[in-house]
């Protein structure tokens, strides 16, 4: 298999007396889809928050190997992590309510553009104009791919739940990330929407994107994942290819209770 893109190394996070993550380690290989599964409260979202810089782990390190460089994620703040090439979505959709769909997605291009204050104001600044044009084109293409062109100018919160999930996905992709982290992207979707989401994820992987996924629905996880990591009570209890994990007695116990 190919080289490592993300290395989560013995990460521990406590909230007061509760150990949310305990010595969790795994690797995400470049160009693969890795799923993070586990019962509710297992620490999946906490791990996502550690990777994206929203919270800081007490112990351990999270490293990103991007473009031959090694970057330490643990201890960085969210906007620095985004700059390193990681984009994420949220379990409870967090779209910008006061913006249109298009504006939401354009905000995603922020890290890939540079125009500063004077360029933004000065109408004859070449770079700002090129960037705006590029950002608009990129956003339009993403909206088209996700079937959202028709609603581009609607307020984002006026869309259906499934559409909002897709807007959030488009917004994350607009930043042209190396690693895309999706927190329960299939939650609340219809069967059909789930199918097209899975197809889309496979398509993204073919294009070389690496995806880290939190998902509850095994019908989504099993067919799309190259690798599955299982958390329970903040600790990794198993990892492997989907088939092996599915048959792992520890995993079955965690999900169904001791027999």
């Amino acid at each position: 298999m190919s080289e490592t893109l993300l290395w989560v190394d013995r990460v521990t996070k406590r909230f007061g007396g509760v150990v949310a993550l305990s010595q969790v380690s795994f690797e995400v290989r470049r160009g693969s889809i890795v799923s993070l599964i586990g019962p509710n409260g297992a620490g999946k979202t906490t791990l996502f928050n550690c990777v994206s810089g929203v919270i800081r782990p007490e112990e351990g390190a999270i490293r990103l190997f991007s473009g031959g460089q090694e970057e330490l994620l643990s201890g960085s703040v969210p906007h620095e992590v985004a700059r390193m090439g990681i984009a994420r979505t949220f379990q409870n959709i967090r779209l910008f309510a006061g913006m249109t769909v298009m504006e939401n997605v354009r905000t995603g291009t922020h890290v890939r553009t540079q125009a500063g204050l004077l360029e933004a104001v000065w109408p004859w600044a070449g770079r700002a104009r090129q960037e705006e044009h590029w950002a608009f084109e990129r956003s339009s293409r993403l909206l088209e791919r996700l079937g959202l062109s028709a609603v581009a100018d609607r307020p984002a919160t006026a869309l259906s739940y499934g559409q909002q999930r897709r807007v959030e996905l488009a917004r994350a992709l607009a930043s042209d990330p190396e690693l895309l982290m999706l927190d329960e992207p299939a939650a609340g979707l219809t069967r059909q929407e789930k199918e097209s989401l899975m197809e889309f994820l496979r398509e993204l992987r073919r294009e070389g994107l690496t995806i880290l996924l939190i998902e509850h629905d095994m019908k989504v996880v099993m067919p799309v994942s190259d690798w599955v990591v299982v958390l329970d009570y903040g600790a990794k209890i198993a990892e492997g290819v989907p088939k092996a994990v599915q048959e792992d007695p520890h995993v079955i116990e965690a999900y169904l209770g001791a027999r």
């Binding site: 929203v54 905000t107 125009a115 933004a120 994350a172």
Partner: protein, 309 residues
Amino acid sequence: MTGILMLLPILDSNSYHTEILATAALYALLALGLNLIVGYAGLLHLGYAAFFGIGAYAYALLNLRLGWPFWAGLPAAGLIAGCSAVLLGLPAIRVRGDYLAIVTLGFGEIARVVATNLESWTGGPNGLMGIAHPAVGQVRFGVEARPYYWLLVILVAATAWACARLRRSRLGLAWLAIKEDELAAGCLGVDPLRMKLLALALGGWVAGLAGCVFAAKQGTITPDSFDFIQSVMILAMVILGGLGSIAGAICGAAILSIAPELLREFSTYRMLLFGLMMVALMRLRPEGLFGNRYQVPNGQSVPGTKRRV
């Protein structure tokens, strides 16, 4: 539009009316500046008049002590007020929402108290006198309101234009993003701290310009022109017009500075009527005159959107 506004004092040469227009234009400039901070970046700032005062005192001191002419003092006052906004913002910006309002309120009061008590520099409660009026070549502005009105209209137009460009740029989107959801914006690579400081710097700069023109027009400044009530009035203008709206800030300023004059004939009941007007307006249009009806308060949204300017 700007042209029509420029002509007003020629069509109506009543100097009392021109004086009111100049005041309205001054407030329009201040409202535009505060709109950058409150409307764009979403920072509830209750001490904005302090930057207005800092700009006024900056020009007054540069003029009285160093003999700087108005046109050199104008950008200097803007810079000094902008820098003060950033310096005062650095400790305050780490707190959010209501707490930020309290901290900025405190800073605003501190600035006024410093101006009142630092007598050797600011002249204390008596303020500073004999500040030079501007001049263009041989033409002196003097005490007549008309040239100041023209200058202010130019400044308002330039500021409004810059704000409109900013709003459409990536920075405008980034401001809106941190205002809506700071965490999500951060995860998209927007540096919230930096964007907030930028808004403060720009808002401070605009207040500094306004303060400089005010000091040059009055010739005399005292600390009570920059008190808490002043901050609240400017904030009321921005909210009345609609947070984030450029046209709203200008109209809000025009209405709130002209209405009390129109209501003069009701003498005693003037402020009562003024208050009732505001309550009624906010009740009927909570999003302000030019506000965006993107989201109605209960979270439902109205399809078909108006572009945000």
